[in-house]
């Protein structure tokens, strides 16, 4: 049976927001870079999967610009961060079904435009209105509100999760970022800066607890195994899933109205990927986890069983999450330091880690976990390095 692999990853050079670059041209650059990385002729691309909310380029325009001989599947995936691995899940399904053999997945984000979109309603996202209709009168401010409410519920159960842990979490990721030339935030935050009351925003968070904002474009080429110019660099996709979880909502910001905690879309996704991969969390060597805030990825570490419930504060304090630590997470510094990619850049980092080509390389990883956030719809994958490496 055909197996699906990540054959190539590529991106347009990452810069802080406001670069003035044209988003469509950035998307083309990233797509060509992924094909080049895979050693696959761009004319062979026969499937495109993109985010609905990514207006940088249409699938039609991309296909025409690549000069693709025959694109057989154009797919758009809704949602934001929740869909980061959903693109790979769908591309993989197209390859496994024989419908396509070289499927390009992409995400382009101009930081300033994205932040504007976060707080306005949009006909493409009609249920965003349920946020406005039912949350706004209680003071809802946007995505930070949602993740702060998850923090409160977690910290009520596990008081070891306090603002000291978030402070350490922010600096740990900056320490990882210091080894990544592409990161935007590498300097350590001082205690005075972090705990200055003027820095506080929503819930436990300060302005240091949010993702960086950048102009970026990332692409991943999913192909049938053996199609690329260098099979030893192909990364196997051993499990993928999408989940809306135990209490599906009409818009992700409504998650605080759910009583399902500690069950979440991610706890459902975790069970699915481990079952399909036939491995357990103890076999995960490196994880790239959605990190729109300094708490988001910590909660995911537990949802995916990488530590016992309530123990993640200890992993932060003993620095286990560094690339050199016992449970490396986001060795590139994540979206917190590299700029918001809706978590899609985490797929690129996991691939680079498994090939041994990352800037902040962990030691000889065999399995990588990639996950979107704990709100629905979410998605996750387990990737494995090539047996030929």
């Amino acid at each position: 049976m055909t197996r699906a692999v990540i054959a190539g990853v590529g991106e347009a050079a990452l810069t802080p927001q406001g670069s003035g670059r044209a988003a469509d041209r950035m998307a083309v650059e990233a797509a060509l870079a992924a094909c080049r990385d895979a050693g696959v002729d761009p004319h062979r691309v026969d499937g495109v999967v993109k985010y609905t909310y990514d207006g940088s380029i249409s699938t039609m325009m991309l296909g025409a610009t690549l000069g693709a001989h025959d694109i057989r599947a154009f797919v758009e995936v809704p949602s934001g961060g929740g869909s980061s691995v959903a693109l790979v899940d769908i591309a993989r399904a197209l390859v496994l079904s024989g419908r396509a053999e070289a499927v390009l997945c992409l995400r382009t984000l101009l930081g300033e435009e994205w932040l504007k979109q976060m707080t306005m309603s949009d006909p493409v996202r009609p249920y965003y209105l349920d946020g406005v209709n039912y949350l706004r009168s209680s003071g809802w401010t946007g995505y930070l509100h949602l993740f702060a409410s998850l923090y409160t519920e977690y910290a009520a159960r596990y008081p070891s999760m306090d603002r000291e842990v978030l402070f350490a979490s922010a600096n740990l990721m900056r320490e990882n970022a210091a080894h990544n030339p592409e990161s935007l935030f590498k300097d350590q935050i001082s205690r005075e800066e972090y705990f200055d009351e003027a820095a506080r925003t929503v819930g436990p968070f300060t302005r240091f607890d949010e993702y960086a904002s950048a102009d970026l474009s990332c692409a991943v080429l999913v192909t049938a195994e053996g199609l690329s110019g260098d099979p030893a660099r192909e990364v196997q996709i051993v499990a993928t899933t999408q989940s809306h979880g135990p209490d599906p909502k009409t818009w992700f910001d409504l998650r605080p109205t759910s009583t399902s905690y500690p069950e979440s879309p991610s706890s459902w996704a975790a069970r699915a990927v481990y079952e399909e991969a036939g491995i357990g969390p103890q076999q995960i060597d490196v994880a790239t986890l959605y990190d729109c805030t300094t708490f988001t990825y910590l909660d995911l570490i537990e949802a995916f069983g990488l530590c016992e419930p309530g123990d993640v504060a200890g992993l932060v304090q003993d620095r286990s999450l560094l690339a050199t630590g016992a449970m490396p997470v986001n060795p590139h510094g994540g979206d917190l330091t590299c700029g918001y990619s809706a978590g899609f850049r985490h797929v690129l980092e996991a691939t680079r880690q498994l090939r041994g080509e990352a800037h902040n390389q962990t030691k000889d990883p065999e399995y990588a976990l990639v996950s979107a956030p704990q709100i629905g719809p979410t998605s996750a994958a387990i990737l494995k390095r090539s047996a030929r490496r």
Binding site: N133, S149, R200, G203
Partner: protein
Amino acid sequence: MTTNRAALAACDVGAGAEGLAVQYRALLRSQRVPLVQRCTDCAAAYFPPLLNCRTCHSDELCWMAAGSRGKVGTFVTVHTRDQTPSMSIPKWLLDQVPYTSVYVEPLDIEGVRIPTLMVGDQQSSLAVGDEVELEVHVDGAIHAHLRG
């Protein structure tokens, strides 16, 4: 997840999600009680409302009073008046900062949380699991007050 309280009005699911929201706001202002949606056929309760019952798929749904007491499921305090690109504070709340959004589970309706607002000094002692009293103001905002 189910409840047998009396219906206040039938849900106009035929008007779509936006129509439901219009009906919700009007009813909240006229009745001045917190509301949830309930399936007339199987008694499942929801909030925010849906276009049909997701348990039995009936389109016979109604608005029901949620009672005036509940338990704090989770909450979020807004500490700053600064509008940043990633957060948009409702303008009418700017002079109330710090304020707290409190997600309240009505005492006898399982599986549902209602977003409410808390202002004033009581916020500093708020904790998950606390019991709160709910009050709907003239503008339709649902305010939570710590009991005792």
